[in-house]
Symmetry: C3
Subunit: 389 residues, 3 copies
């Protein structure tokens, strides 16, 4: 009964796509909560812009480059597109979050076009798609179910390039000190992180590609279970480390620990038994807690911890598949990590540098002091609430 | 295998219904973010009231009037009911949002009863349901898959009647000037609009009615894809117009542009190829940007832009099906638009006027100055936050 | 076609599980909105901690105790686990919400371990699971589809024990007066309650266990419809009572009325015709409105109304099945209510008392005055908003 799997897999792809779209408010709320009130409207506008620009560009240009064709016999080609489209903005979300509070809209929108039309589609092409490298010595055999490298490292390398070009926020590293900038709205941070967590079920579960047989139904359910378990472990370990160090439970770090675990599991949630993700996620959470101050020491200013969550754990998660799954070659995984880095980082750097000549990324000091909401949006986020600081 | 489609379509209707119910917090957060802090609890209470009163009334009275019978052989009759029930409150949400900051609860609840028991069910009856006009010269052949006219124009006409009766907010149009009232909480606006966007996938996708064959699975997926594309185009065009005019990205207008595109596509997302929605949505977004100041010039005070989003684009979207789909008659579409207007506007006006005699809709000046939270709810929305203005 | 039901029921369990996970942000936002700003980060951290600790503990220990085995032939065993795992944290959410603003994190985390490893699994075991009491005179025949007793009363009894041990918030009952503590953020309260409402569709609908035949599809759809109807009725009755008494619509009480109706229907939403839930939910809403001040008179300080919503209505809902469904014995229902109480209350009390010796639950007066955000988290929820009170 051919129709059965076509119908079920179309339905399932639409279900998974919908969960991933919840990551749009997820990222938006997370970042709106983490930045200062004077930059909240700007960050929110950036998030909506990314969804609109990246999705439309991917529809018109990027999807064909990634997959070569819209044809699809296993499910509705429209559902297959929607599921893939739900991914593309995430790479820019990762990048934009890390340069919050000093990045301008227009040049960011231009980079979003390039990311969705070219950079991300090429990475997909060589990893999941039409495979333009097939037959060459660069041909990838990396296993990356839902994008520890393809999504998270890609966004992370682009972010690293952006931070190097744009610099840190005004006054963040002065006189040898690191100025702490507290998150302005913790409920939004929690809401956003939990929506991302839920979206991840669609991200990873949907990436299995089919649920229409007993075996694939088991794989989908195991994938979602392992995804969740890694998130739990990441949160727990981050919480424990914070408590041991400071006798305090810093909720933003705990949530970043959870997200780190989720990124780390994303390369192979379908391949592990149900206990391995505890280890993968726990290491992911620990890496976040270690990496956040480390990036600050390097003066790489990342207000939301995106380098720690997405880049570090994107790499860790991809390599972990090679370490924990005997059928997967560690060297193939490493090759994938390196090749994607070698493509995304310099290309992003070059594109950002070029755009920067015409439309500077960095908001000037006056704009930063005043807040980007005024200069970029003309809309204050909370005009009626009196500021304490 | 008859059970297959019955089971799948029941499941799919429940999935779609659930997405639509996310529009309840969607409308609530959108409106709570757009109004001033002193009216936030009142607006939230109205939103919860609408869901409770409209759904219960539709269950007890309206559904039978609309469809004639609860019988349903294609899916569980309970699932069919739930899907339809999820729609009804939206017509009142559209109307209540536009009279925010001066409308009182009790008369609004009474109108909600009439809308859910009578006005909306009659519109559904002649458009999608039992069709009481069949065989008469008024019989409708309008194509309106998910309610550009049936839902959005209906709510819009009721809102126009309400604004004419209730008037503008105190001090909004004085001495020939239009006083700008800034939104109080932009993160809530963004969250609400994005939840509405996600809910639309259920609204339009579920309106296809079945996903249980290859053809219908394709139609559902195309419908959701086209819905999303129109939203993207609406957001992009609204953003571009705002930037060209003001060099600023006003996020509330961008989101209203997206919602305008979503309303416009709603009449025929299943009939277009995948490129037409770019045009439909782009025009939808542009119409919102043009209509918002136009209604202000007419002194029709609409704090959330509901006339522009829902009424203007409900009309545009319905007519667009006649323009872009060769099998659909433009005149049948126009006839539908006119007939629904000719029924909903005068009936709503009469009902509102009548209720107004006994329970005045308009909160008096003192209440408006103080804020409706105090007089209607006794609950301040943010009691601990010191007000700056 | 055996695969059909396996695939569909796995997919449906994953769908239902996802809806239930929306209750994690649901509880978090509801409680963050109900407490004072100085305790918001602490409450949010507790909610995330509960999800992480309870789920991980249930995975490693509790699930096997509850069900005896991971084997499952009707759907993927991973999906079956995920659906059950989504429940466990709720028992602690109920309990922790009611001791908000004075409970400390570490001892609460320890109790969460005991609840998820032992107390809740034993209740599930004797109600839905492996049934260790089978053949004894204590053997339960209680009908409790989705946990009016198993989840809500269990959480409620644990909360009662906790309130007796921890006491009321500092200054809440002094000089014979009850000090009213207003909710700090009403939009979050509404968002949270509506997310819980949506999650309930998964909770109750998923508890039917299968959707893969016509009969079970009807049962699932009826279950979700009845769940929703009871919530509507609870909200309406609570609103009406509040208006009759105070001429004001207190949105927090209306939402608690809705939640009361939802708890009350949870024991038997699949057994009633579609009109009975109106009565069940209406009584549920009324019970909440009556019980909230009653618990205050007893000086049982419960900032979120959890005893009224979950304990009172958990009992009412379980007994209601015996009253309204002729095939169900009232005495079996009562026996279930009593036996679960007789197990959960004293065991929780003993466990809490024991933990309390080593890690006191109660935050001292100084911490309470300062707010738990400082002492427990080191993270203020809204550091930039100036406090009015």
């Amino acid at each position: 009964m051919e129709d059965f799997s076509y119908v079920i897999d179309t339905f399932f792809a639409l279900f998974a796509m919908t969960l991933i779209i919840f990551m749009v408010p997820g990222f938006a709320m997370l970042e709106a909560g983490l930045v200062r009130t004077k930059n909240v409207s700007a960050v929110l506008t950036i998030n909506v812009m990314i969804y609109a620009v990246a999705s439309m560009t991917f529809f018109l240009v990027g999807y064909s480059l990634a997959f070569g064709s819209w044809e699809n016999s296993a499910m509705s080609m429209y559902a297959a597109f929607l599921f893939q489209m739900a991914f593309v903005g995430k790479t820019v979300n990762i990048m934009s979050g890390g340069v919050s509070e000093r990045v301008r809209m227009i040049p960011l929108a231009l980079f979003t076009v390039v990311m969705a039309a070219l950079i991300y589609p090429v990475v997909v092409n060589i990893s999941w798609g039409a495979d333009m490298l097939e037959g060459t010595f660069l041909d990838l055999n990396m296993y990356d179910l839902a994008g520890s490298t393809v999504i998270h490292s890609t966004g992370g390398w682009a972010l690293l390039a952006a931070i190097l070009i744009i610099g840190s926020r005004r006054g963040r590293y002065t006189e040898g000190k690191i100025r702490v900038v507290p998150a302005s709205n913790i409920p939004l941070v929690v809401l956003g992180a939990l929506l991302l967590w839920i979206g991840w079920f669609g991200f990873n579960g949907g990436s299995v590609g089919s649920i229409a047989s007993k075996e694939s139904a088991d794989t989908v359910a195991l994938t979602i279970m392992n995804t969740n378990t890694a998130g739990l472990a990441g949160a727990l370990v981050a919480g424990i480390i914070m408590y041991v160090r400071y006798k305090l439970f810093d909720i933003t770090m705990i949530l970043n620990g959870a997200l780190g675990g989720l990124v780390a599991i994303t390369a192979g949630p379908d391949l592990y038994n149900m206990y391995v993700p505890i280890l993968i996620g726990a290491i992911g959470g620990a890496l976040v807690v270690l990496a956040v101050p480390w990036f600050d020491k390097l003066k790489l200013d990342d207000p939301v911890g995106a380098l720690s969550v997405h880049l570090i754990n994107g790499i860790w998660g991809t390599l972990a598949v090679g370490l924990f799954v005997s059928e997967i070659s560690f060297w193939d995984q490493l090759k994938g990590v390196v090749l994607v880095a070698a493509f995304v980082f310099p290309v992003s750097y070059g594109v950002l540098k070029t755009i920067n000549l015409f439309f500077p990324y960095r908001a000037d000091d006056e704009m930063q002091v005043q807040g980007l909401d005024v200069s970029e949006c003309g809309v204050e986020a909370y005009p009626e609430f009196k500021r304490a600081i």
